[in-house]
């Protein structure tokens, strides 16, 4: 197997897994799948590019500011587009359209504000995108960092679900009324989850920027690939998302190598549909309990 291809697949797969994890963070307490998540990632990349490349701030400061800004925007999204719809009817799917609308608003505001040209972002100081040879593969220190950071983040977020607040989020996901009766306020948890999910999305964007460039085009493609990773991994399952992210990355890389880069998305989509046809709740997901 071509090892360079594997390196590229794992790097891209890591980013898809991070997008999927952002979805999952929001999904757990709200059962809302945020259609604007791709745009939150894109906003992270744009803010990162602005702070780091255009304003010349240190990488970590720029990344932190980008995370804060996007987390705040995600919170605004929750307040204006998600909470009101869920308040009317917790089972309605009106949020599909409202979060889609927010996605359109974010994407077009960014288009108006930043223009269509991609902005290059450099990696933080000791890291570089220059490749060197390692075990016969061409790899850059930044690619290694992205892969490692992804694994650490997934483990870190999973560790959060071991804390009392994390358990409360899982409790809300399982039985909202029972959670209410234990003093858990689902509305507050969903606000916090949007804030946290926004932060993770922004970090994903900042991490992706040196590899993919920061541009408005980032949103839709990451939305779909992140969804593919989340669905294949099982919605709500972050470790599943990590593995599924790698799978999606590999499928893409193989499709690009064997067919042409233009068929990447089609191949990913076909693989995802095939997996969902056999396992509707993904490779690592479980069916929701039936309510009769």
């Amino acid at each position: 197997m071509d090892l360079d291809l594997l390196v590229g697949a794992l790097t891209a797969g890591s980013l898809y897994a991070l997008v999927a994890m952002g979805f999952n963070i929001l999904y757990r307490p709200t059962n809302v799948f945020n259609f604007a998540q791709g745009d939150l990632v894109m906003l992270g990349a744009m803010f990162g590019a602005t702070f780091i490349t255009l304003l010349g701030l240190p990488w970590f400061v720029g990344a932190a500011l980008a995370m804060l800004a996007v987390a705040a925007l995600a919170l605004v999204e929750e307040k204006i587009a998600v909470a009101p719809v869920l308040k009317n009817s917790a089972s309605s799917h009106g949020w599909v359209i409202t979060t889609l609308a927010v996605s359109m608003i974010f994407a077009n505001l960014v288009g108006l504000g930043w223009g269509p040209d991609p902005i290059a972002v450099r990696p933080p100081a000791p890291l570089s995108t220059d490749t060197f040879e390692l075990f016969g593969a061409n790899i850059s220190s930044y690619q290694i960092a992205v892969m490692v950071i992804t694994v650490v983040l997934v483990l870190g977020v999973e560790a959060f679900y071991g804390t009392r607040s994390g358990k409360a989020v899982l409790a809300v996901a399982e039985d909202r009324d029972a959670a209410l009766l234990r003093g858990i306020n689902p509305n507050r948890l969903s606000s916090w989850s949007f804030f946290l999910g926004g932060g993770v999305a922004a970090l994903t964007g900042v991490l992706a920027a040196p590899v993919l460039y920061a541009s408005t085009g980032l949103g839709p493609s990451l939305l779909l690939k992140g969804f593919a990773a989340a669905a294949v991994g099982g919605i709500g399952n972050n470790r599943g998302a990590l593995l599924a992210g790698y799978i999606i990355g590999l499928v893409e890389a193989v499709a690009a190598a064997l067919l042409s880069p233009g068929y990447q998305l089609a191949a990913t989509f076909a693989v995802m549909l095939a997996i969902l046809l056999v396992r509707p709740h993904g490779l690592f997901g479980r069916a929701e309990a039936r309510a009769v």
Partner: protein, 605 residues
């Protein structure tokens, strides 16, 4: 307001005339104001309306958000373009192929999504749109890549090549046909089933509706209409390129539906007209357009979920209320006399050693009971003893962990719940599962779903045999509503009935399906004493029809009065069974209810 205004608003008869006049005006309009450019725009708009009408079926009535209808239009347009340019097909078979292609490709894509939550479908269709958009440029051997397909000829009929006037009339006629067909379809079993699947899948299943199949039906119809619109689009523009079908293209249709009014027949038409008019006014704001659309979509969903048409309806109802007119339409006048209901041949039920576990808890541990055909049997027992679980297993809502269930000697183990319902098992639920926005009559008509045989095409075309069948169902529904005592409330929204009457309406719905086995889950819970008496009489009357009735009930007086036999469950096992008199004098039965041995004598003395 004067009497004339009141008469105008109050009369439903003016509507067909107004609509006919509107159609006539649209047919004649080109003679008055028909420039090439205006005809081009109008024909294009008509193609869009066609897509939006189809999308409304899926989204407004079916509750499924499709973000891929633009891609289906693209498939239709490219199919026609390639068939006509590369293979010299004539327009008409090419159009048929376009509709089939859009429906088939769409169905393959939608199949996995329909088994999952609504939003999966939205994302999968979004992905589908991106994939199709990509393939249009990428798959050059087929699609000619960026250049697209040029020189698409105008369609011909008997040697006459259609002019832009003709194309406009064709598109307009297709719109009118689509609206009429849609109105017919929505009035038929399919419309009700679709709304039931959207608003209460459990009730739909219990009425014998196959959820995935009905969603797929809506999608296939909707996709075929998009394919048809694509065909019009191609011959009208004479050129198709990948640029015609950007990612935003699919969003436009969703916007039209939401703007005009999702789930309203005229919504997509109004939406498309506004959608075409506004950009003309906003040309100065070209770069802001998508942003404005996003904001519009958000505000509409939050403040006017049924769009412009929904807002007009609300205003209209308020106006009528102010004028003292009723908002409840008159009941349909049907020629069918409300003759007495026909007898039903009951089915025998046999439950053998049924087991069910939930996690670490055993809900049913080897329950057996037999109910003779045509008798009324009660299952009683304390809360949590497994009564409702048993009903859910008989009707197939829960899979069985062990044992057998036979209805008239045929095993129903492993059958999907809608299939069990279709084989003649009706049921009600502890909390009535009504479709609150539909009328009581429509709720009852949902029960006729399995009995009717008409297909979607027959329903849309309103063929004579479909109409006869619908009239028969209507007669049945009115008759059974009369039977349960709700005939006078038939046209009210079901959600506005009090609890006790919702229960009766639910029973009527089950009866319209003419069940050979009827399962009633705590029909007496929450009823007033007067309602309780009526319920007793009603169940006795249902038993007299011949239907086998199995009733889960706490109210022992009711049980004693109407049931021939009783099974007592406790903690998932049969504690006693026999006639009511035998069972209720059983010491352990009373102990199970009261929880104490010492005081049985006191309580029962």
């Amino acid at each position: 307001m004067g009497d004339a205004a009141r008469a105008l608003i109050g009369s439903p008869r003016t509507r067909p005339a107004l609509l006919f006049a509107l159609a006539l005006a649209l047919y004649l309009a080109p003679f008055a104001v028909g420039t090439e450019y205006r005809l081009f725009i109008a024909t294009q708009m008509a193609a869009y309306v066609l897509v939006a009408i189809g999308l409304n079926l899926l989204n407004g009535y079916g509750g499924q958000v499709s973000l891929g209808h633009g891609a289906l239009v693209a498939i239709g347009a490219y199919t026609v373009a390639l068939a006509m340019v590369d293979h010299q097909w004539s327009f008409w078979p090419a159009t048929l192929l376009a509709m089939v292609a859009a429906a088939a490709v769409g169905a393959v894509m939608a199949l996995p999504a329909f088994r999952l939550s609504t939003w999966y479908f939205a994302l999968i269709t979004l992905g589908f749109a991106e994939v199709v958009g990509g393939l249009l440029t990428e798959w050059r051997e087929l699609t000619h890549g960026f250049a697209g397909v040029v020189g698409i000829p105008k369609p011909g009929v008997l040697g006459h090549t259609l002019t832009s006037f003709d194309l406009y009339w064709l598109a307009l006629s297709l719109n009118i046909l689509a609206l009429l067909g849609m109105a017919n379809l929505l009035r038929s079993r399919f419309g009700r089933a679709l709304v039931a699947v959207r608003d209460n899948p459990v009730a739909a299943t219990a009425a014998g509706v196959a959820l995935v199949r009905i969603k797929m039906m809506a999608f296939v119809v909707s996709a075929a209409m998009a394919g048809l619109a694509g065909a019009l689009f191609a011959v009208q523009k004479t050129v198709v390129t990948p640029d015609d079908f950007t990612a935003d293209f699919s969003i436009f249709f969703l916007l039209m539906v939401v703007l005009g009014g999702a789930g309203r027949l005229w919504g997509p038409v109004v939406g498309a007209v506004v959608f075409f008019l506004v950009p003309e006014l906003l040309t100065a704001l070209q770069s802001w357009r998508m942003l404005i659309y996003g904001v519009a979509l958000l505000l509409l969903m939050l403040y006017a979920p049924h769009g412009l048409v929904g807002a007009i309806e609300t205003g209209w109802k308020r106006l009528r209320t102010r004028l003292g007119l009723s908002n409840i339409p008159p009941a349909p006048s049907t020629a069918i006399a409300r003759e007495t209901v026909h007898p039903i041949a009951g089915a025998a039920l046999s439950v053998r050693d049924v087991e069910k576990r939930f996690g670490g808890v055993s809900a049913l541990a080897g329950v057996s009971l037999d109910v003779a055909a045509g008798t009324t049997h009660a299952i009683v027992g304390p809360n949590g003893s497994g009564k409702t679980t048993l009903l859910n297993m008989i009707s197939g809502f829960y899979p069985i962990d062990g044992g057998a269930i036979l209805i008239d000697g045929r095993s129903v183990v492993g059958m999907a719940p809608h299939r069990i319902a279709r084989s003649g098992v009706g049921r009600t639920f502890q909390t009535p599962r009504m479709l609150p926005q539909l009328s009581v009559l429509d709720n009852a008509l949902l029960g006729a779903f399995p009995a009717e045989r008409q297909g979607a095409a027959a329903a849309a075309l309103s063929l004579p045999r479909a109409r006869r069948e619908q009239m028969a169902s209507l007669g049945d529904a009115l008759r059974y509503l009369d039977f349960v005592g709700l005939a006078d409330r038939a046209m009210e929204p079901a959600g506005e009935l009090p609890h006790g009457q919702q229960r009766l309406a639910e029973i009527a719905r089950a009866l319209v399906g003419r069940p050979r086995l009827l399962l009633l889950d705590e029909p007496a819970a929450g009823l007033s004493l007067a309602e309780l008496d009526r319920l007793g009489e009603l169940i006795a009357a249902i038993g007299a029809l011949g239907t086998t009735v199995v009733i889960v009930e706490h109210h022992l007086e009711l049980v004693a009065n109407i049931c021939r036999s009783v099974t007592v469950l406790e903690r998932g096992a049969v504690l006693a069974s026999g006639t009511p008199a035998e069972v209720f004098s059983h010491e352990e039965v009373i102990a199970a209810y009261m929880g104490s041995h010492s005081s049985v004598g006191q309580a029962a003395s």
